[in-house]
């Protein structure tokens, strides 16, 4: 009898991981086919960013550093879309740049789509500076003058000939910077843009990175964090309530994935409980 129990507990502890994948795959597929509504609690660190953008006046400038590649699109693209839509709807001008080599494609995709939705013009309502390697040097140079690292925008037009850039020299002329990143670029923005030039900074990062950056929120070096897809869903919730994005137009992409997050987390927790029960019971039997 004890031998049978011991075998069961051993099986619980040493379950082939492919069973875990299969169960998660089935649960995710079923949830995707028959989704349900999940309430999203908005955290203060996300609300801070939304409220800051909300407090900006039309014509003021927000800078967005887009430092992620396609592999992080699932988590970061939704927040990028939501912030861009909120800014364009409010008449806020956007200054965009990339310090990640795969960022240019991400910016182009978002800006091409959202600028069409709001009839925004390149050079007048937004300026896309493009990509430059070596984040530290690029940020330090931008702190002096955007024209040092980026004499021309991404499309090859001189910054001096762009109407929006007439009164914009450096970080002093942008109200804040939001860095949306899946890598070490965030550290550079904190260290150089905030640390060296005292620029007002908020960040949107992947779930994996989020816990690493909470100390900077507590120390006041950043004023907000949008953490992964959950953070993006919170921002989308606020933006929808503010009337900037719409469920009917399928603009709440992160929000849409929240039921999958919920069911998958329940499955993961159940497997953790299963493994732990097996561990403690096998110890008891032995």
């Amino acid at each position: 009898m004890d031998n049978g129990k011991s075998n069961l507990y051993d099986w619980m502890m040493n379950l082939d991981r492919r069973w875990v994948y299969l169960v998660i795959g089935v649960v995710v597929t079923l949830t995707a086919i028959a989704p349900f509504k999940v309430p999203v609690y908005v955290t203060p660190e996300v609300r801070n960013i939304y409220n800051f953008v909300e407090s900006m006046e039309p014509g003021e400038v927000l800078m967005i550093g887009v430092d992620y590649a396609p592999e992080a699109m699932a988590e970061l693209h939704p927040m990028n879309y939501a912030i861009t839509r909120q800014c364009f709807a409010k008449g806020i001008k956007l200054l965009l740049c990339c310090l990640h080599q795969n960022g240019p494609g991400m910016v182009e995709q978002v800006i091409a789509q959202v600028s069409k939705e709001y009839d925004k013009v390149n050079g007048v309502d937004y300026v896309y500076l493009g990509y430059k390697p070596y984040p530290a040097i690029t940020i330090l140079a931008m702190g002096q003058n955007f024209r040092i690292p980026f004499p021309e925008d991404y499309y090859g037009t001189s910054l001096d000939s762009l109407p929006m850039m007439r009164n914009i020299v450096n970080f002093d002329n942008v109200q804040a910077i939001i860095n949306i990143s899946a890598g070490s670029a965030t550290e550079y923005w904190i260290n150089y843009a905030n640390g060296r030039y005292n620029a007002k900074l908020a960040i949107g990062v992947t779930g994996v990175m989020t816990s690493d950056y909470y100390p900077f929120l507590q120390s006041g070096q950043i004023f907000g964090i949008i953490g992964g897809m959950k953070g993006a869903a919170e921002y989308e919730d606020l933006a929808e309530k503010g009337g900037y994005i719409s469920r009917k137009k399928d603009q709440l992409t992160a929000f849409k994935s929240m039921p999958i997050q919920t069911t998958t987390h329940i499955v993961v927790i159940l497997f953790i409980v299963l493994g732990n029960v097996g561990y403690f019971m096998s110890k008891k039997v032995k």
Partner: protein, 209 residues
């Protein structure tokens, strides 16, 4: 969705499924998709770097007769000597310049922003209202106990041992939060792909019917 989208999203769907087949075991479909991702990323990065770094920072200045730009170009070329055992020592000059200037820029700011600012953020007032009082005291105790865990010159026994034990619990809370967020991040990627496959299949059936 038109024929164009059906074909290209079909390729994306095929590559997504090919990658997921690795969850069962390694196979040629996975290998093909993996190599394609690595190859495309490397090619894309090279072209981006050439047009955003090499052209504006070397070719254009030289065309404008700013010949001092040859100096960093020479430093860059010197790094290629690493491929030769005999001449690899030459690359050390370039690396020394690169690391030296990088350290000179980074270290003072790094200490200021990642050490001193973080230290001052733990020196908190403890006599305000109830909730900040509790969180501030928790932060102070947590930081102190976590530091005692890493002090190895004294045996972890008695009050010192208890402090170190509380320190390891504090660290575990941090690791737990990190693990939870990592799971959330990975599930986000899966969720996005599954939603993509669902939408594609539904569009494909509409297109075929």
């Amino acid at each position: 969705m038109g024929t164009h989208d059906i074909i290209f999203n079909g390729i994306a769907a095929f590559l997504t499924i090919s990658i997921y087949t690795f969850l069962y075991k390694d196979n040629p479909f996975y290998k093909f998709a993996e190599h394609l991702v690595v190859g495309v990323s490397a090619g894309y990065f090279t072209v981006i770097l050439y047009f955003n770094g090499f052209v504006p920072k070397l070719i254009e200045p030289l065309k404008q007769e700013k010949f001092y730009y040859i100096l960093p170009a020479i430093l860059g070329l010197m790094i290629w000597t690493r491929f030769s055992r005999k001449w690899s020592w030459i690359s050390r000059f370039s690396l020394a310049f690169y690391i030296g200037s990088g350290a000179g820029i980074a270290i003072p700011l790094y200490i200021q922003n990642f050490v001193i600012r973080q230290l001052s953020a733990t020196m908190l007032p403890v006599g305000v209202s109830t909730w900040p009082l509790i969180t501030n005291i928790l932060i102070i105790i947590g930081v102190f106990c976590a530091l005692t865990y890493f002090y190895f010159s004294k045996e972890h026994t008695g009050a010192f041992g208890a402090s170190a034990k509380f320190g390891i619990w504090t660290l575990m809370v941090g690791f737990g939060a990190g693990f939870g967020l990592t799971v959330m991040g990975r599930v986000s990627l899966l969720a996005e792909r599954v939603v993509f496959l669902r939408d594609y299949l539904s569009e494909l059936f509409k297109y075929l019917s």
